[in-house]
């Protein structure tokens, strides 16, 4: 490319970057805290409820996770969770309800191509990377822990 033209395009790209509307970080962080916090508070109530029913804390926390996943799925089906995400950003994405939303929203979206090739194949298009890198990082951290604690001697 002609260097003058390249310089012009570079100048334009820089101008776009400079003129882009900046998100309000303070507002976004506050909203993420509030939305994420509200979800976690709800999770705490659910956990306290199940602690009275289950024998051990581990069992109570397992069923709490299942309940939160269920609630996330319901909120997605009702068309509420995407609004929460718009408002709270990572506050809605990070809790397990967000993970549930990523699977259910994809399942809803692709159901119309059939249960096998549509929903079955594409249900994990969004959640897939979370699983892949979640498992991979879990393995690596476990490996480091194992080496440090001397399990491989």
């Amino acid at each position: 490319m002609d260097p003058k033209e390249a310089a012009k395009q570079k100048e334009y790209r820089d101008l776009v970057k400079a003129m882009e509307p900046r998100p309000s970080f303070l507002r976004n962080m506050l909203l993420a805290f509030l939305v994420g916090g509200a979800i976690c508070l709800l999770g705490q109530f659910v956990f306290d409820f199940f602690k009275g029913l289950e024998r051990t804390e581990a069992e109570a926390s397992a069923i709490t996770l299942a309940a939160m996943i269920f609630l996330g799925a319901i909120a997605t089906g009702l068309g509420v969770y995407d609004e929460l995400g718009e408002l709270g950003g990572a506050g809605a994405a990070v809790p397990i309800t967000g993970f549930s939303n990523s699977i259910v929203s994809a399942a809803m979206e692709f159901k119309r191509e059939g249960l096998i090739l549509g929903m079955g194949c594409k249900m994990f298009t969004i959640a897939g990377p979370v699983l892949v890198y979640g498992i991979l990082s879990g393995f690596l951290v476990g490996l480091v822990k194992g080496v440090l604690l001397g399990y491989f001697r």
């Binding site: 790209r13 939303n101 259910v104 809803m108």
Partner: protein
């Protein structure tokens, strides 16, 4: 000798075709916007009673085409060619409509600029003496575009201020060698312009250089300035793209001022939380064939320049790190 060419690349039609009828249909969200009264039909739901949004999109375009035929008191058989396009892979929506219409069909793709390509080609076909009546149409649907270009609709995503909202809607018009209605007098077809922008969340800024390139070439070819037009309508640069477009035009020595409007900014009000504005092949099509043509019929506009813009990328090329090539076609429409 190409006798109908003016300047380096503008076409001046010797017997400019008339837009004898046009019809529009939009979804519920667009029907709540500022232009609500200008559309022929506003559907009650996004799905429009269909099982899939793809089917809904197909019905929108079909009904827009039928609406234009009805207004012109014509049957599909009276039309010599149908030129249509949409955003979906393999432009299925328009092809499905063509299957229904049974008219010789040319499928077009220029993303959101599709209707511009259709009008220019339709006018060339008629002015060239190859047809008397040509039907042009374009459609888009929020749900079908989201899933193809972005994410599932119900996914928790925080949109950025530069994100545009795909319009659910369709517009169709009939161009004819004789009759009543505004005339397509000139066309400047766009080059693919790519300033190396890669952000699919800000297509307005990517498309602005293409729009500016075509418009400046048009001004140079025809010796006109923004003052010669009652309206310069882009579609759809939206808020961010419009800002950049004004800046680029200013650098080239043209001040647009209040002459410029953008279909993406007209169709939604800021209260509708549609991000930077509307987009999609159905946006400029429904705004031009609804609101703008009605203003022309009422004598508010006499000579306008329409500049539909399209981002010619695919999600695949974006993920592979390619920049976004863009195009814009300019059309001059004058009262008939």
């Amino acid at each position: 000798m190409a006798v109908k060419r003016q300047g380096l690349g503008t076409i001046a039609f010797s017997s400019p075709p008339h837009i004898i009828a046009a019809s529009t249909i939009v979804g519920p969200r667009e029907g709540e916007g500022p232009l609500a009264a200008s559309f022929d039909t506003v559907t009650k739901t996004d799905l429009y009673g269909e099982k899939t949004p793809e089917k809904a999109e197909y019905r929108l375009l079909e009904e827009a085409c039928q609406g234009a035929l009805t207004k012109a008191k014509l049957e599909a058989g009276d039309i010599h060619y149908y030129l249509g396009g949409d955003l979906l892979n393999q432009i299925v929506t328009s092809s499905f409509v063509a299957r229904q219409l049974g008219i010789p069909y040319l499928g077009l793709y220029a993303a959101c600029a599709t209707i511009g390509e259709g009008l220019a080609l339709g006018a060339m076909i008629i002015d060239g003496g190859f047809a008397d009546k040509v039907l042009v149409g374009a459609a888009s649907h929020y749900h079908t575009a989201e899933r193809q270009f972005r994410y599932p609709v119900e996914l928790n995503i925080q949109h950025r201020g530069t994100n545009q909202t795909t319009v659910t809607g369709a517009g169709a018009a009939i161009l004819a060698s004789s009759g009543q209605g505004p005339r397509v007098t000139q066309a400047t077809l766009g080059k693919v312009v790519d300033y190396g922008l890669k952000d699919a969340n800000d297509l307005g800024s990517a498309m602005a250089p293409a729009a500016a390139d075509t418009l400046v070439r048009h001004f140079q070819d025809t010796g006109t300035t923004p003052g010669d037009y009652d309206l310069i309508l882009t579609g759809d640069l939206a808020r961010m793209g419009s800002k950049m477009f004004h800046k680029l035009l200013q650098d080239a020595g043209y001040v647009l001022g209040g002459k410029h409007q953008d279909a993406g900014l007209l169709i939604f009000s800021p209260q509708q939380k549609a991000g930077a504005g509307g987009s999609g092949a159905g946006c400029i099509a429904s705004v031009l064939f609804g609101h703008v043509l009605k203003e022309m019929y009422q004598g508010r506009y006499h000579k306008i320049l329409v500049l539909p813009t399209g981002a010619l990328f695919s999600p695949l090329t974006c993920q592979q790190g390619e920049s976004i090539p863009c195009i814009a076609h300019a059309l001059v429409i004058e009262e008939g």
